[in-house]
Structures are given as C-alpha cells and as structure tokens.
C-alpha cells in the first residue's frame, strides 16, 4: 500500500491550479493587448486634440488604460470601454490644464517670468489655420468642440461626458466657434 496516497493528489491539484492561474494570466494579458490595439490610437488622438501635445497625448492615453485595467472586471459591456476611455481622457486632460493653470498662477504670484511652452511646432504655412485657431481656445470651449465635431457626440452626450448642463455645452460650442471665426478673419486681414 502506498504510504502517502494523499500527497500525490495534492501535487496534482497544485499543478492544476498553477496551470489554470497561468491560463487566466495569459488570457488577461491577451485581453489587455487586444483592447490596447483596438482603442489606444483613438484615445491618443482624442487626447492630442484636447492637449495639442503628442507626447502628453500618449501619456494620457496610457494613463487612461491604467485606469481601465483597474475597472476592467466591473465593465461587462465591451461597448462601454470606449466611453470609459473617452471620459478618462477628458478628465485627465482637464486635470492637466488645471495643473498648468495652478503652476502659472503660482509663478505669477512669485513674480517669476513664465515661459509659455508651445505644444506644437511654431509654424509655418503648412499648419492648418483652423487648427491654429482651435488651439488658441480655452480648454472648455475646445473640449466641447472636439467632442461635438470630432467624436460626433450629441449635445446631451457631450454634456454627460463633460459633466456639464446641456446649455453650458451649447454656449461653449457657440462661443468657441465664434472665436475660431474671429481668429480666422484676423488671419485673413493680416494676410491682406
């Protein structure tokens, strides 16, 4: 009679558990990789339009994914992932601009000369005049315009993503467009 029949079974169970663990781990990583491949570029582009800085946009997209990983188990609907990422990007961009504003205010209070970093190339003829005008908008107007016209969201959806009232979205878009038109007219006058 085998003196320790239980030990062999225990070893088998252990190896099975390890195998299952490895499969789950591989499966999870594969899912993340697939989701990243599917959504990363779009998320990055939205971040780029909101910040105007390609490097920052990559960081924001990655940060949004890190947040997504933490919530992945509670997101049942795969379709909700894109919305989750969109909202994360908008929140992160808002956080970024708020931080920049705080830093600038602090430096102004300390009477330190503020060097405003240009996010994009200082440009030249090749740069899009409309984009240049959009870049000059305050964050709120820019966010509203990007979500409405790039993401093609309705006013109601935009309001939900930004956490605003619909009226605020309407006025932000309207003021933003007006300012873009004014900038464009100004550019044309300068050229003439």
């Amino acid at each position: 009679m085998d003196p320790s029949p239980g030990l062999g079974v225990l070893e088998d169970v252990k190896s099975d558990v390890a195998e299952v663990g490895a499969i789950i781990r591989d499966d999870f990583e594969a899912r993340i990789t697939a989701l990243y491949a599917l959504h990363a570029r779009k998320a990055g582009r939205l971040a780029y339009l909101l910040t105007g800085d390609p490097h920052l946009a990559e960081d924001l997209a990655q940060e949004a994914f890190v947040r997504l990983i933490g919530r992945l188990s509670s997101i049942r609907d795969e379709g909700a992932i894109a919305s989750y990422l969109r909202r994360s990007i908008v929140n992160l961009a808002h956080k970024h601009w708020r931080k920049v504003g705080n830093e600038r205010r602090h430096l102004n209070a300390e009477h330190v000369s503020v060097v405003v970093r240009s996010a994009s190339l200082p440009d030249v003829e090749s740069r899009d005049a409309v984009w240049r005008a959009l870049e000059s908008l305050p964050y709120r107007q820019r966010a509203a315009i990007v979500l409405r016209f790039y993401e093609d969201l309705s006013e109601k959806e935009t309001a939900r993503v930004l956490g605003w009232r619909i009226g605020t979205v309407k006025s932000s878009v309207s003021r933003g467009l007006e300012r873009v038109r004014k900038e464009m007219t100004g550019d044309e006058d300068e050229r003439e």
Partner: protein, 192 residues
Amino acid sequence: MKTSESEIKDALRRQADSFDMPVEPPHHIVATIHRRRSRNGVVIGLGSATLVAIVAASVFVSQVTGSGTSAGSGRAGTTNGVAAMSYVLLDSKVATGEETSAPRWLREHIACMRNQASTSPIQPRPPTGGRSSWTTRRRQAWARPRGGRRPSSRARSIGLCLATSSSGSRRTRWTRSWGAWPDRGTTYPHRP
C-alpha cells in the same frame, strides 16, 4: 469668411490623423497589471526581504522625486522605486544572463531603467503651487493658534469647519468676543 462646422470637422480629422502612436501595450501598463495582481496576493517569485526593500526604495524615491503618496501621485514613486531597487538587486545577474527568479516584468523594467539612466536622471518636480485640498486647508487651519475654544478632537477628526458651525461665522464670533473685525494684515501675538 465664415468657417463652417464641416471645415472644423475636417481640420480636426486632419490633425487627428497626423497623430500616431504605437499600439503595443507600453511597458508600464504591463508592470501596473502585475503590480495590481501582486497586491491581490498572486506574488510572483519575490522574497519578502526583496519586497520590503522595494517598498523602502519606493518611499525613498517618492521623496526624492517629490511624488508623494497622496493625491494619486504615488504611482510614479512606486514605479521608480521598484525599478531603482530591482536595478540594484538584479542588475548584475541580468547583465550576465544568469537565470533569476525575478519575473519578466521586473527584468523588463530594469532594461527600461538602464536605458533611461544614461539620459534622464531623476529630477525633483517643480512645486505645483496649486491650492491644497479642502481637507488639508481645514487641518492647517485647526493647527493655527487662534482665539476661542479649541475644537474637540472629534470635531477636528471630522473636519468640522469653524465658519459653518452653529455659533456663527468666524467674523461674527470674533466681533462678538473682541469688538471690531481686524484690518487685513493686523497681527496679534496673543489674543487682543
């Protein structure tokens, strides 16, 4: 010229299309997945002494880089701490190609650190100069000596605000006790 919405849409699309980012999940996302999993109990091949050392290094690096553990900024400190410590612990083994028990993500992290070390040493962050949180301001306010009764520890622990207490605003209570509300900049060594 009146810039139409379709022109803005086109400009946004053109600009978004000019942005591209790699779709392979970047290293720190993979590291985050593993860290979160480790936190959940599936620790992968690290001894307790190593973990203690990593935590100590994380705290140290957090202080050096100014990325504290509050306000959600602990990630950078922890990531750098893990990388710095693992660099010290395992670099020699990895460099010689020796098989180690370190998980793959840690070895990748070391490689990543090694690449960064030559070009970007850790720099302290500039002060954000931002407004501290409401809780922090309340706690600082309690720590300041001022006239009147010291609030109970319970009141302090729940951050009960003097200004909203039932006994009236700070100004009301000051006026009631000491007469005129002091001019801005007036300092008192003790109670007036």
